[in-house]
Amino acid sequence: MDFTYDDEQEALREAVRGLVGKAYADFEQRRQTVKRDPGFDEALWGRLAEMGVLGLPFAEDDGGMGAGPIEVGIVAQELGRVLAPEPFLTSVVLAGGLVAAAGSAEQRAEVLGALSAGESVLAFAHAEPGSRWEASATAVSATQSEDSWTLTGVKEPVPHGARADLLVVSAALPDGGTGLFLVSPEGVARDGYPTHDGGRAARISFDATPATPLGVGGDATAHIESATAAAVIAAANEAVGAMQVALPTTTEYLTSRKQFGVPLNTFQSLSFRAADMYVSLELAQSVALWASMVLDADPASAQKAAARAGLQVSRAGRHIGQEAIQLHGGIGMTAEYSIGSYTSHLTALDHLLGDGNHHLAALSSAVGGYAEADPLP
């Protein structure tokens, strides 16, 4: 077992850090970007496409770079470090991942080609009012009439749903199961709004909206489960990146801020809590990196690995996010200063694809089926 990145992976990290890290080096730049729609920097999105980042996980035949989960994790960490609002996770990893898994060769070439080139933003419309991280859809239903399909119902919240150029939509099939469809958003009622962490989401209402089945059609629950697992692992890496910065931001504040005539780090009640944050970060990082390796080497075990990473990172994200604000004091509450936004984004990541207890429930139900949780699947 080897946790070190090779030279090419290090080069990817440096390149992404050089681009995204530089663009958002000043937190005020990020703050201004998320204030305006679409909530991210379109020009930066284009430069990420030029760098190959937007096609990273897709096959070269589909217009991608043919890289794997380790590389996706590296990019996610770098975006997480500066809270970059570009929709790499939801558009590339999740929605793109579904097209890559379920789409026909023609759909893959067309949709992933445009996504990789930065010409098209993709969104996965899956969450429904009343749903809670299930793989199935119920509130949006698909109807077939001869050779054509239409969708009816409401999806909300859809990450970047208002900006998206193309939607991947899950819908209940007439004969049971959940299908996946490509939907052009033209003429679809979309109400977009900002999320607490500067992201974007939308309510999307379908009313006999024409839709094209992804690939051969039929029940796609298994695809949704595996694409979600890959996205959970990428999200865990993104959260690790955010925590990697939230901790030193906090410790730097502790050494610079003075009260009672001395720097705050002289108070053991504060420095010990920072030490506990470090423990949480190290453990979460270990599991996130491991889950990326599992997804790379043994995709069949990825759902369990995703649950493990999701659980560990959820616990760590809350611990570090909450303590980071508390150790800062009042300044941590302000929107102008970065640390509170880290906590806000960690909270969003925690709830996008399943929180810690959601993952724990899945792990608990299987706990009697094996003796030890072994790092090697």
Partner: protein, 390 residues
């Protein structure tokens, strides 16, 4: 990044697994599995089997019985041993005084002490803590005054684990009372049969007597038993404690107890079914498993980054989290036993299971884990200062 072990390391793991599960007597491994206190004979027998096959002190220099293994292989050796329920080589010998003598001792000391130390022909005790020198170890007051060819030692050591079996004791003693704290300390090897040396047991909250007080009244120690240089003992102690922290993240044994705990839960009736089907119990086990996995993966990351035997600063994480999880699993077992956990004093006539008898004593005994080897507050201090720069 590579998930699998290399074919060579996988073969090594299989070799270790086979050895530990076939060469070490089942009775000893069963005693470990049922969390009983081991006898001196069992500990000695096990270590001699390991030593005979070069597996007692692999981290020592090769000329003294060590193996030239990668940090990963050492980790695999350590984990597989715990997994099989093989008692770890006596820490005082294998992890503490042995490496110190090998690194800082004279050639004569190495030849005299290292082979019997590896083979547990000499049982070493640790003489560090004193009644007024716990976490603040450097405030120790036991003195050694040079008198001709001897040092004359006076004072008291405490928390001497398994000192009742000890043949020799390695001690930190104050040789320069005028120097500042850390500066006047020396590392001395003392024969426990020396006149003036007394061992008194201390009964602990679990009913056991695994620790002792050791008193020194004008104990004469040949000056040749000084390790390294006079007044440099603190450096050797720091070296030793760094090694100790790596060893005290008992991932493998905690995993083994947790796996057993699942079986104990499965066999326990609850609400018309099995306790393992109780959602609260299952989620508690699943969460502990996840944290243990996180700790094991972190240990693997740390071993990969430990250059030339120097512990990675993150080894404090292993000690801190490792002891917390060891304690949390022992707490789980008490809760699984439920009312049966009261039967800690039950004998052979009991209708309850042995794991139920042992649950609470093991839990109470393991409260020590966050205190010894540098208390967890000391570990937080190390993390805050050396890693976070606070």
């Amino acid at each position: 990044m590579q998930l699998e072990l290399s074919p060579e390391d996988a073969a090594f793991r299989d070799e270790m697994r086979t050895f530990f599960t076939t060469e070490v007597p089942q009775a000893i491994r069963d005693a470990v599995a049922s969390r009983q206190e081991l006898s001196k004979d069992q500990i000695v027998e096990s270590q001699r089997i390991l030593n005979k096959h070069g597996l007692a002190v692999p981290h020592w220099p090769t000329e003294w019985g060590g193996q030239d293994w990668s940090p990963l292989r050492r980790h695999i050796w350590h984990e597989e041993m715990q997994r099989a329920g093989v008692p770890l080589p006596l820490a005082f010998n294998a992890s503490m005084v042995g490496p110190v003598i090998a690194a800082f001792g004279s050639q004569e000391q190495k030849e005299r002490f290292l082979p019997p130390t590896a083979n547990l022909d000499i049982w070493w005790s640790q003489g560090f803590s004193e009644p007024d020198a716990g976490s603040d170890l450097a405030s120790l007051r036991t003195t050694a005054v040079r008198d001709g060819d001897d040092y004359v030692v006076n004072g008291q050591k405490t928390w001497t684990t398994l000192g009742q079996h000890g043949d020799w004791i390695f001690c930190l003693v104050r040789t320069d009372p005028d120097a500042k704290k850390q500066r006047g300390i020396s590392f001395l090897l003392i024969d426990m049969t020396s006149p003036g040396l007394t061992v008194r047991p201390i009964e602990l909250i679990d009913g056991g007597v695994e620790v002792n007080e050791v008193w020194f009244e004008d104990v004469r120690v040949p000056a040749e038993n000084l390790v390294g240089e006079e007044n440099h003992g603190w450096d050797y102690a720091k070296f030793l404690l760094g090694n100790e922290r790596v060893g005290v993240a008992p991932v493998g044994s905690t995993k083994r107890v947790l796996a057993q705990a699942k079986e104990w839960a499965r066999a326990t009736s609850y609400a018309g079914g099995s306790l393992l089907d109780d959602p609260m119990t299952a989620s508690r086990i699943a969460e502990l498993e996840n944290e243990l996995l996180a700790l094991e993966l972190t240990a693997l990351r740390v071993v990969a980054n430990s250059a030339d035997g120097k512990p990675h600063p993150a080894s404090s994480v292993l000690k801190l989290k490792g002891s917390e999880l060891q304690q949390a699993v022992s707490e789980l077992v008490v809760d699984l036993a439920g009312p049966a956990s009261l039967a800690s004093g039950a004998g052979d006539g009991s209708s309850l299971e042995q794991w139920q008898h042992r649950a609470t004593p093991a839990y109470l005994n393991l409260r020590k884990a966050s205190i010894y080897g540098g208390s967890n507050e000391i570990q937080r201090q190390i993390i805050a200062k050396t890693i976070l720069g606070l």
